[in-house]
Symmetry: C2
Amino acid sequence: MGRAITVRDMISVEEARERILSHFSRLEPETKPITDGLGQVLAQDVRSDFDIPPLDNTAMDGYAVIAADTDGASEASPVRLRVAGDLAAGYIYEGTVTPGTAVRIMTGASIPGGADSIVPFEETDEALDGPKLETEVAVLKAVQPGANVRKAGEDVRKGETVLPKDAVLHAAQIGLLASVGKAEVSVYRRPVVAILSTGDELLDVGEPVMPGKIYDSNAYSVSSMVVEAGGIPQRLGIAADTVDALTVKLREGLEADMLVTSAGVSRGDFDVVKDVLAKEGEIDFWTVRMRPGKPLACGAFSTENGHVPHIGLPGNPVSSMVTFELFGRPAIYKMLGKAGWQRPRVTAVAKERIVNEDGRRVYARAILTRNGDGDHEASLTGPQGSGILTSMALANALAIVPEDALAIEPGQQVECLLLE
Amino acid sequence: MGRAITVRDMISVEEARERILSHFSRLEPETKPITDGLGQVLAQDVRSDFDIPPLDNTAMDGYAVIAADTDGASEASPVRLRVAGDLAAGYIYEGTVTPGTAVRIMTGASIPGGADSIVPFEETDEALDGPKLETEVAVLKAVQPGANVRKAGEDVRKGETVLPKDAVLHAAQIGLLASVGKAEVSVYRRPVVAILSTGDELLDVGEPVMPGKIYDSNAYSVSSMVVEAGGIPQRLGIAADTVDALTVKLREGLEADMLVTSAGVSRGDFDVVKDVLAKEGEIDFWTVRMRPGKPLACGAFSTENGHVPHIGLPGNPVSSMVTFELFGRPAIYKMLGKAGWQRPRVTAVAKERIVNEDGRRVYARAILTRNGDGDHEASLTGPQGSGILTSMALANALAIVPEDALAIEPGQQVECLLLE
């Protein structure tokens, strides 16, 4: 703290992220009911123990027949077959289809022995007259052997891997697990993220207004970002700016997989957080070459069982959200075993000037829209002060001004990270 | 059921959706802790009861001074001021800054009476030597009145609407609610969606394999889609194909806001679902001009307190997912009071032929990638049979072949709905 910090002393966003991620590892697997695994990552390959479909079955409602019986059938000269039975899906026909006979059969039902093809209702007289529990059906069109038959194992072969390790479980994957009979699934555990706000100036929501105090918003915005990223937030509340208060609160988060503090990391107020973390673990203070969100801390809080990685966010509401977006969210993804923390990027045309005051990379809160030609356009959401959360609430993107650009001028291209 | 269904008898996807949505309304508001409202929609405007910041405060760590005192200050001839106090954020300075004095002050702290500007540490000798609890500070640069002061109400004025009714609560909005001191929020309630699978051929996961039977996947994939859309799934399990079994199971879903059944709506097996719904409410059967997912039912199940809207999905795993995507998801959004159920659309170049066999709109499971030029390309995920859930698990988009196109040829443009 003994000298002014200049741009040369700063580390890049990429270097900060790399250093932070080095503190995190994928968590251990847990086994849970398949629907509870939605959004998590498979910890092992899932194979099918059986063919799907398990037996040859019909893709259509119709009649199971011997194809040769239908040779020459037409509307003008239908082939009449004796209906020997009626078979719903889920049942096995006990008899055998013999020449001159047919079994009425519903989609999904297994093909009766002896039959080799299905004549759909539409190609029989049932289509014209509705189902009659008659003993004869007229086939109006010849079928080929195998017609409308789904073969056993056509979708999935016994022993086949239906979902590989590291697959993310969305709705189709959960359905696929069910289709191979799995009630439970092994996925990497969701991280518990302990969140602590520091500062004597903070009130918690629900407390009465007091002169000079402000309501803590960081615990709530960051906790919501943790949920959106797939973690489980554990809000520790607000710690006063004393070593004792901070130590007590931090120790409540010792069971967590990650500790996030906000405030207490800018130049003037290093000492309390620094002292506590230095005593209870280790901490690095960085100045990241970005705006908003310059000051950042990273370290680890020692516990009896090891250590809890720690990210210290700036106290300003927008800075804390932007730094959590760039550093905290990737850490949660890494613990989940999930790739793809990168937000989609879009190149837009700047609708207004976006300035870069001091050679840091600017992440400006922006509204991305499409013009008549389908091109993306980026406008700022208003004043870019880092205390102004309304501007973050309006944003659907962060527009990036590179370190070496003095400004993006209206009409110039600007790269944007999509937030939604 | 007395005649073949032709394309002319079918209704369009848009007409089916409009008819279905006419059964649904936005649900009533509920009040809950702000973090629990994440993803829901505000049922009323939220105003601030106070200015933010509540008082003029400092944007920097530094010294609160009278600007006129610093006139002419430079590194060569610093202005020396007596340090009359030290003020952390959250505290109010009891005294007054008089000419020739300064108060050491931390970011966010209220500006002491008498002072009109802040000299940052970097522009004092503290920056060079570190903080000394001395009684004098040397100012190295003149400041203007108002420098580094954030004015009361600069971010939010007392009485101002910070979030309008109908805003969706993401992380920034939750933070904004906290910043105006709100512990609770009024949002439109999440719908409970009862999900019932029908069919004698179905086994539930965990049951042993049986000949001719298949595992029910629809309850699990649809339940996951309900969660992803913001609803609360209530799985009713599997009903056998009998009036009694179906009636008993359906009545378990009477407290839900929406009932989803799967299977039992195709031509051959209308009768059981039709009979039960006709007795217990009302139901329409439609053939929607789309593939997969042609048969669809919609109606309402009567209860003592009114009725529960009902969507009857096809039984095939892919058909049920695609129809729930097109019809069920918008219904959940409508109940949540949420706009934007439409998926983003992208025009891609088809990498392979996508056929349209029979004049219906095809929703083909596709993998969308970008080529070297940044253009989107769409490939199919494999065979497009509607029983094959593996193809759905691989898809990140649905590629649309219009009703009047016989096929999309390789190299032609194809419109795609993004699923992720």
